[in-house]
């Protein structure tokens, strides 16, 4: 098992190296640079001498290979560089944005699992019932309606009908003002959780239906096992592997989903930092944030694989 984990960590490092190359190349292939991104068409007003000074300031014109290894070397040593737009250290910007996104992701995941597993279990245990119909309906809405539509609608309704939009106030830290923080993070997390919950719900329902049809369930029932024990210990535990797989996949996508939701709910997280930095062609920030997202994705996948071994010992071999 340990060997397997070690192998996965090596694969993870190779994946991240590949991701870093792809990010670097894609950013350089985009038309424009930090000068045109920050000045727009006003860049045309610059004299040659001014343009040369700006190119030097932004490090434009250095060989791409040199830029890449310089950035990679610095990143590996913990130095994420300096933001071209704000001249702030990237680590400072990421350091203030990362906790926001982490909190949002964790809360969305918890809500998504509660919604998905809850409705999926209900549907799987009573297929065709009204509870199942509700679950199916919620899952269709969650899968079909994009998070930006639900988010925008929610913000509009809350602000128009209740004069309530806590996210528009300055972001409060979890420890500095927990009550305001929870209000600010709860609704975006709820929006994100609907999409996740829908996918988890469908997986859970299918897994429970499958496990219900297996012979050991009938045996347990025949032995007189109570319904609650049957559901929790037999059905749920045996349906857990696909649920964990789906949750892991959704957690990866969730990181991407925060980009839009953070914009709508005015949360100063990594997603918003990424969008702003892409618009500004702020390469050091974009590279670092994207790498963090990619690292998050592969780490989650690794954790899911480790969880398999815990849940299902057969996979340890």
């Amino acid at each position: 098992m340990l060997l397997g984990i070690a192998r996965r960590i090596v694969t993870m490092a190779i994946t991240l190296f590949g991701v870093s190359i792809v990010i670097f190349v894609i950013l350089r292939l985009l038309p424009g640079n930090a000068v045109t991104a920050s000045m727009g068409v006003s860049a045309g007003l610059l004299t040659h001498a001014q343009l040369a000074a700006l190119n030097h300031y932004y490090g434009i014109g250095q060989p791409a290979i040199e830029q890449f290894f310089s950035w990679l070397g610095s990143t590996l040593s913990g130095n994420l560089g300096i933001s071209l737009a704000s001249r702030e250290p990237v680590s400072t910007l990421v350091g203030s944005a990362l906790p926001v996104t982490l909190e949002l992701t964790v809360m969305a995941m918890i809500l998504g699992v509660i919604i998905g597993v809850g409705l999926g279990m209900l549907g799987g245990l009573k297929p065709g019932s009204w509870q199942d119909d509700i679950g199916q309906g919620v899952s269709v809405v969650g899968l079909a309606v994009p998070s930006f539509v639900i988010g925008t609608a929610l913000v509009t309704v809350l602000s128009s009908a209740f004069h309530y939009f806590p996210s528009s106030e300055q972001y409060a830290g979890l420890f500095s003002n927990p009550w305001l923080n929870l209000q600010q993070v709860f609704f975006p997390a709820l929006v994100l959780s609907l999409g996740i919950g829908a996918a988890i719900m469908r997986t859970t329902r299918a897994a429970v239906l499958e496990v219900r049809s297996l012979s050991f369930t009938r045996t347990a029932t025949g032995k007189g096992v109570s319904r609650s024990a049957l559901v929790c210990r037999h059905l749920f535990l045996n349906a857990l592997v696909p649920i964990v797989t789906m949750s892991g996949i959704q957690l990866g996508y969730l990181l991407g989903g925060t980009v839009i939701v953070e914009q709508i709910f005015v949360l100063p997280g990594l997603g918003r930092l990424l969008v702003t930095s892409i618009n500004n062609r702020d390469f050091p920030v974009v590279q670092s944030v994207t790498l963090i997202f990619a690292a998050g994705f592969v780490v989650v996948n690794l954790l899911v694989d480790v969880l398999y071994s815990v849940i299902d010992p057969r996979t340890r071999r």
């Binding site: 985009l30 038309p31 424009g32 045109t36 920050s38 000045m39 727009g40 068409v41 006003s42 860049a43 045309g44 007003l45 610059l46 004299t47 001014q50 343009l51 000074a53 700006l54 737009a85 704000s86 001249r87 702030e88 910007l93 509660i114 913000v155 509009t156 809350l158 602000s159 128009s160 209740f162 004069h163 309530y164 939009f165 806590p166 528009s168 106030e169 300055q170 972001y171 709860f186 609704f187 050991f216 347990a220 032995k223 096992v225 609650s228 024990a229 929790c232 210990r233 037999h234 535990l237 045996n238 914009q263 709508i264 005015v266 100063p268 918003r272 930092l273 010992p313 057969r314 340890r316």
Partner: protein, 546 residues
């Protein structure tokens, strides 16, 4: 072993199961209660507690506003991107830093040049020398006194290539910058250039302390003489300023202003309705016009204009009559309606200010299809022609609507306009290289036609390539207008320039749209100005109560 465990997991003994039953039952009950309670508490606590106006949350909010410590919040979709006033290009940067810094002269709401840190000025030596008398008793935020040394250092910094101030082109004619005593400044110009005064109104040419210039602290800690002083900056999120105790003018009534970034205008409207924002800066009429009536929506024509820029170097657009056919086939009022729901006005080359052009006097002020067809015949294209126009909805969300409306109008005359929508950066690259036949553009305007068009159509203009039109007659008019000493002469020259540009259908000038500021109840004395750098200047005298 694994298989054995799996087997046990599937088929526990009844004894084992019974042993676990109460524990699991309890666990399930606790979990259910916790989950249900958590969701219910969050939802109910968060919404109901803030639902009714008399609710606790709203009451506490009101109390917070009434206290002097709560900042006045200005919301915009953009964020303050740089702190160095010499290199800013973002609209909000101008607005925010325009409250921190002063310039030698500024424009008032009528776009007239009025004193700021210079109390008076005079041209001499055939308009080749410009002398300023500087205001006395002005202090920077650090407490140091503003003198001619600061003015000289500030303008020298602007023209230094390494500063890369795009507005240096506004004072390109300045040959020498000299102090004239402690409170005097003399600019020696290479040629007669009265428009240099207009250039000096830009925040890009703000007055900075010489000490901060030499120490290089300008980009990190703004230090100006304006009504507000810098307090804090969170890149991408907020920018906060507080009342400047040393301010030479009327003391600001609002103690602290916070510019908060809210990425969408719909969210700004929501924040206004939630009472967490006092002033929302908007550009979308659909958002501005749907706010509750309790909000005052101040609108002002933007100091920018929309135009279809044409490249006259090759193809059918090189023919003046072909361009005139486009001008006559265009229904600008319809485009204004389609693009911004009629929220603006049809404009000529100079949309605002004392020399504003009258679009009614231009070639085909309203759509005239038969005249367009006549021009087409004269151009040698009796069956029409086709060309491609670029747009970028990244840069101007209304450009696609403009293009689609114009496409159908031109089709009525037999002209086919293909539309190519580009990503923002791709558009900028092609625009700067003049690599287009036609481009829908939102260009910055200025009350002074020379400042507006010298860079496009003047001899050696920095933007001659994207302008796509060269005419010695236009160059001559621009030069004469720049050198004209009297306003009467300038008015005649700029009128001739306007006629030349529109009669030759150099570009197709379309419209000028409104900018909006949604003002929350309790805010008094605020009005939006069309001038970029001073559009929020009224915040210096605005008062606010919950």
């Amino acid at each position: 072993m694994g298989r054995l465990r799996q087997h046990r997991m599937h088929q526990p003994s009844v004894q084992q199961l019974k042993m676990h039953q109460p524990k699991m039952h309890q666990l399930r009950a606790i979990s259910a209660v916790a989950v249900a309670g958590g969701i219910a508490a969050s939802l109910l606590g968060a919404t109901i507690a803030n639902a009714a106006p008399a609710s606790k949350a709203v009451r506490s909010h009101s109390v917070k506003h009434a206290s002097s410590s709560a900042p006045f919040v200005v919301a915009d979709t953009s964020s303050v991107q740089k702190l160095d006033p010499d290199v800013i290009t973002n609209f909000l940067d101008f607005q925010a830093l325009g409250l921190v810094y002063d310039t030698l002269v500024e424009e008032n709401a009528k776009l007239q040049i009025v004193p700021d840190l210079a109390t008076s000025w005079a041209f001499s030596d055939g308009n080749k020398v410009l002398t300023f008398q500087l205001r006395k008793g002005v202090k920077f935020d650090d407490g140091s006194t503003f003198t001619s040394a600061d003015a000289v250092a500030s303008l020298k910094r602007v023209i230094a290539p390494k500063t890369a101030d795009a507005s240096a082109s506004f004072i390109a004619s300045v040959k020498q910058i000299l102090p004239d005593g402690t409170y005097g400044l003399k600019l020696v110009l290479s040629h007669s250039d009265v428009s240099v005064l207009e250039g000096l109104t830009s925040v890009n040419l703000a007055m900075l302390p010489a000490s901060a210039i030499s120490s290089g602290s300008i980009a990190k800690k703004p230090d100006g003489t304006g009504p507000y002083e810098y307090a804090s900056w969170s890149p991408g999120n907020s920018f906060t300023i507080k009342a400047n105790p040393y301010y030479w003018g009327p003391k600001p009534k609002i103690a602290e202003i916070k510019f908060e970034t809210i990425p969408s205008e719909q969210s700004i409207a929501s924040a206004l309705e939630a009472h967490s924002v006092q002033l929302g800066l908007l550009t979308e009429p659909t958002v501005a016009n749907h706010l509750p009536s309790t909000y005052k929506v101040d609108k002002v024509l933007s100091l920018s204009y929309r135009a279809l820029m044409l490249q006259d170097k090759t193809g059918p657009l090189a023919n003046v009559d072909a361009r005139r056919a486009i001008a006559c086939a265009t229904n600008r009022k319809q485009i204004l309606g389609d693009a911004v729901f009629g929220q603006g006005q049809v404009s000529g080359p100079v949309p605002l200010g004392p020399f504003a052009s009258n679009p009614v006097s231009s070639l085909c002020p309203t759509q005239n299809i038969s005249q367009a067809k006549t021009y087409l015949k004269e151009a040698g294209y009796p069956n029409g022609f086709s060309f491609t126009a670029i747009t970028s909805t990244d840069l101007d969300p209304t450009s696609a609507a403009q293009a689609i409306a114009m496409q159908s109008e031109l089709a009525q005359a037999g002209i086919t306009m293909n539309i190519q929508n580009l990503a923002g950066d791709a558009y900028i690259q092609q625009w700067l290289a003049g690599d287009f036949q036609a481009a829908f553009a939102e260009n910055g305007a200025d009350p002074d036609p020379y400042v507006m068009y010298g860079r496009y159509f003047g001899a050696g203009g920095n933007l001659a390539t994207p302008a796509g039109y060269t005419s010695t007659a236009v160059q001559k008019l621009l030069l004469e207008g720049d050198e004209a000493a009297s306003t009467t002469n300038q008015a005649k020259i700029w009128s001739a320039l306007n006629a030349n540009l529109t009669n030759n259908a150099v570009w197709i000038w379309l419209f000028d749209a409104y900018d909006y500021a949604a003002v929350a109840p309790g805010v008094k004395g605020f009005s939006l100005s069309p001038v970029t750098g001073t559009s929020l200047q009224a915040l210096g005298t605005t008062s606010w109560s919950s």
